[in-house]
């Protein structure tokens, strides 16, 4: 029998302060990079604008395209190679004119420069300012609603404490994903949002498995004198192999998608991959640890309360 963990006895919870530190440092770096870059970059889905994907007959230097576009003065445009030296994404800011007028102008400008050769417009996306704003608000609601949904489910299935610890883990995962995006210069788009929502649903899975185990163990009768801290740690260890294995297969899928799925799906696959890793980590270190700290804090307070009462 092939097995990755044989009766694991790792002391996860005991080292939780280190985990907190690592998470906080990573998120601080990520948030710092977001601040330094003037916020997370929004794709045209959210910011509005025009995106044109073109393919040339042969590889073309970016500077030539930039020079050709500067002549028509459409404002600050972003030019990116897109998976192939012949293929580019041109992102143009919102302008008064319509998408096809912009496309035509771009096509003419690029056509005029004979050295660029023939080109094919493969994709045009135009998002007006109204739609972009609507999507931003809807996206926020979507994230909040799915968190609320999960909070309610975990609270009903287990308890409110577990629900809040799960939400904390989810927020942690989302922040890690956003940090990773900022550090790798990726932009927030609709597919990325889809990936984030999926991670929100997925990352809580392992947490539920671990909580469920705590309850099951209690049902069997815990060893006398076992602290809550140690109960959680035991449950995490007992479910460790399935936590890691399930994450591993999903990781295989998302990594394959990242490598083979093509440029259009790359950001979505990236966020899913990061999310699977951090989702597994947060089950062990964030959700489990927070619930322990919370319980310890509540116990400490009630003890203090009793002492005060005794004195009085």
């Amino acid at each position: 029998m092939l097995q990755i963990f044989v009766d694991p006895q790792y002391n996860f919870i005991g080292r939780r302060r280190w985990a907190y530190l690592i998470s906080i440092v990573f998120i601080l770096i990520g948030v710092g990079s977001m601040v330094a870059k003037g916020g997370l970059r929004y794709g045209i889905d959210f910011s509005g604008g025009t995106l044109i994907q073109v393919r040339f007959e042969r590889p073309v230097p970016v500077e030539r395209i930039r020079a050709a576009l500067e002549r028509i003065r459409l404002g600050e445009s972003v030019i990116q190679e897109f998976g192939d030296p012949r293929e580019f994404i041109l992102r143009l800011p919102l302008v008064e004119t319509s998408a096809e007028a912009v496309t035509r102008q771009v096509q003419e400008a690029l056509g005029k420069d004979g050295s660029l050769g023939k080109l094919e417009v493969r994709r045009v996306e135009f998002v007006g300012p109204q739609v972009g704003r609507d999507l931003q608000i809807q996206a926020l609601y979507a994230v909040l609603w799915s968190m609320a949904g999960i909070l309610i489910y975990v609270a009903i299935r287990f308890d409110l404490k577990g629900g809040f610890a799960s939400i904390a883990a989810i927020i942690h995962d989302v922040l890690v994903c956003l940090s990773a995006m900022s550090l790798t210069n990726r932009e927030m788009s609709l597919p990325v949002l889809a990936a984030l929502l999926t991670i929100i649903g997925y990352s809580v899975n392992d947490t539920i498995v671990a909580y469920d185990r705590v309850r099951e163990n209690r049902g069997k009768g815990t060893r006398k004198g076992q602290s809550f801290e140690s109960q959680i740690n035991t449950a995490i260890n007992q479910t460790l192999s399935r936590t890691v294995l399930t994450a591993l297969t999903v990781f295989f899928s998302t990594a394959v998608l990242y490598v083979f799925g093509g440029k259009v799906l790359e950001d979505l696959a990236f966020v899913l991959t990061i999310g699977v890793v951090t989702g597994t980590y947060s089950t062990v270190y964030i959700a489990g640890s927070l619930i322990v700290d919370w319980t310890l804090w509540v116990e400490a307070r009630s003890r203090r309360g009793k002492k005060v009462m005794a004195k009085a």
């Binding site: 029998m1 092939l2 097995q3 994907q53 998408a99 096809e100 035509r104 094919e120 493969r122 994709r123 045009v124 996306e125 135009f126 998002v127 007006g128 109204q130 739609v131 999507l135 996206a139 609601y141 979507a142 609603w145 799915s146 949904g149 999960i150 489910y153 299935r157 609709l190 597919p191 889809a194 929502l197 999926t198 929100i200 649903g201 997925y202 809580v204 899975n205 539920i208 498995v209 469920d212 007992q238 399935r242 294995l245 399930t246 591993l248 297969t249 999903v250 990781f251 295989f252 899928s253 998302t254 394959v256 998608l257 490598v259 083979f260 799925g261 259009v264 799906l265 979505l268 696959a269």
Partner: protein, 538 residues
């Protein structure tokens, strides 16, 4: 637990056969399941033809248009001017000016303040307006469109816009277009496989309000431009393009504001070719009422010029030579034959009740779509291969069973998508690739539990039974959370992203059947037989 084996085998068999039939229907069944016409055949032989591909995979245009509802109300309120005037005059109230204010109000000025009471009485009888302000001394009443009426008109405008666009698209000839209302004032249009997006958009987005107005010759247009047009007239332009230099010039016309006929008075419009210049033009035929009005108009204005105006642009302004009783008119103006065809289409389909604005547009060329399909297929295959290999190495025979279950899962996923006419998009393909990784998770949860039970000293059969039943609760938990975020994503997402939610949710639900029900059946068949089993390949 070898209960109901024949029934369980039968259920699995039915599901497999049904899935295959839905995905690859035999010719006769196909029409029964999907109706006589189904999507354009895909160029990729690997994709079953019963799957409905999204625009990002087969190429096409996705448009979201916003209907300018204020403009629609303005037009309606403007039109009500006549009704209000008639209602007042019927009661013998002389009316001065009636002017629209904002998009929902009319300012009525009476000829004399004495008739104020009579006027107020007459105005209360108007169903769709209510009196908002009244100034007896000045003889002025401000009417406002009732909020309920305004809401109805807004709704009507969107519905009418939807209908008109549907007519135009039908006449343009697009296979399987989708035109739907989205939110309060938006229209979502999806045109798969359209080759010329610019033309399609011009055709859909044109308001196509055709108006016939008399040219006012009392003043030179140039002077009117400087001094402002006299009351009851306005300045409109004709756009002329020089054929040689391709320079565009704008010629001003002074026309009367009163509209004598509109596109609503047309019975049909078609393209004709001028015999002498061989230039295409659009000939229109008026309906009975329109023809009568046109005959009267031409009879009364022989020698004057009649401006034919489309969306506020003068197309031509021919001189009326004689009374025209036939109700035939021609719209000329240097058309290409494509322009003329499209104009005839929009005139036949009718005008949009209000201008529309492109809020969102996504156009994907067919070559990009084909690339996306290829890359997506590779991703799904590679993901399946890697995950299957892992399961096989880690769980051996049980891994093989899980892999068969995974294959069944993909089959059911695609069949359900075909059966419900769900659209497969590129993010949807990503959802399938992700489903591969998540579907085996259910098997992993079960297998790990069986291993654990087995290690704790239980016999094979007891371990299997306990493994399945104990893991089941966990399986439900994990499904619920993914479904919660999937549903919210579906609710929120547009187009392609919705496809991601759809394939993920179907895949996750299918895994309940394949990873639990089907896998259990196979385990029962192998291990729960009469012979004694001591070991389990897991």
């Amino acid at each position: 637990m070898r209960r109901n084996l024949p029934l369980r085998i039968a259920i699995v068999a039915v599901v497999v056969i049904a899935s295959l039939v839905y995905l690859y229907p035999p010719p006769g069944v196909r029409d029964f399941l999907y109706g006589p016409v189904t999507g354009a055949p895909t160029s990729n032989p690997w994709i079953p033809r019963t799957l409905n591909l999204g625009l990002d995979l087969q190429g096409g245009i996705h448009l979201v248009l916003g209907v300018d509802l204020d403009k629609a109300l303005e037009a309606q309120v403007e039109r009500a001017t006549g009704t209000v005037r008639a209602a007042l005059e019927k009661k013998g109230v002389a009316v001065g000016r009636i002017q629209r204010r904002g998009s929902t109000e009319l300012v009525v000025e009476l000829a004399s303040p004495q008739s104020f009471t009579a006027a107020q009485e007459a105005l209360t009888e108007l169903g769709s307006f209510e009196s908002k302000e009244a100034d007896q001394a000045a003889g002025r009443v401000v009417l406002a469109l009732r909020p309920k009426e305004a809401a109805t008109l807004r709704e009507l405008a969107v519905r009418q816009g939807l209908e008109t666009i549907r007519n135009r698209v039908d006449q343009f000839g697009v296979a399987e277009p989708s035109i739907q209302q989205q939110g309060d004032n938006r229209i979502l249009i999806q045109l798969p496989g359209v080759q010329d997006p610019e033309r399609a958009k011009a055709l859909i987005g044109k308001t196509a309000l055709l108006e016939f107005k008399l040219v006012d010759d009392r003043m030179d247009p140039e002077r009117a431009l400087k001094e402002g047009p006299p009351e009851g007239t306005e300045i409109l332009y004709q756009r002329r393009v020089d054929k040689e230099t391709r320079q565009e010039s704008r010629v001003p016309y002074l026309v009367q504001t009163k509209t004598h006929l509109t596109g609503a008075d047309l019975s049909t419009a078609r393209v004709s070719i001028d015999q002498t210049t061989s230039e295409p033009y659009v000939s229109v035929e008026l309906n009975t009422a329109g023809a009568k009005a046109f005959a009267e108009l031409t009879a009364a204005n022989v020698g004057r010029r009649l401006a034919i105006i489309l969306d506020g642009n003068v197309h031509s302004a021919p001189v009326i030579r004689e009374r025209i009783p036939s109700g035939q008119a021609q719209i000329t103006g240097g058309f290409t034959s494509e322009d003329a065809t499209d104009l005839a289409i929009v005139l036949r389909a009718g005008a949009l009740p209000a201008p529309v604005q492109v809020l969102e547009e996504r156009t994907v060329g067919p070559s990009l779509g084909a690339d996306s399909i290829r890359q997506g297929m590779i991703a799904i295959l590679a993901s399946t291969a890697l995950v299957s290999l892992f399961m096989l190495v880690y769980y051996r025979l049980s891994g093989l069973i899980a892999n068969v279950a995974l294959g069944l899962n993909l089959l059911i996923l695609l069949a359900v998508m075909a059966g419900f006419h769900a659209t497969l998009t590129l993010p949807g393909i990503a959802g399938i690739a992700l489903t591969v990784g998540m579907a085996v998770d259910t098997n992993i949860l079960i297998f790990e539990r069986i291993r654990e039970e087995f290690r704790s000293g239980k016999t094979v059969r007891v371990a299997i039974g306990a493994g399945f039943s104990r893991a089941f609760k966990t399986v439900i938990d994990t499904h619920v959370t993914v479904l919660v975020s999937g549903l919210i994503l579906f609710q929120f997402g547009t187009g392609p992203v919705k496809g991601f939610a759809v394939s993920l949710m179907i895949g996750i639900l299918a895994s309940l059947f394949t990873a639990v029900f089907f896998t259990r059946l196979i385990f029962d068949l192998i291990y729960m037989g009469s012979r004694k089993v001591e070991t389990i390949s897991i």
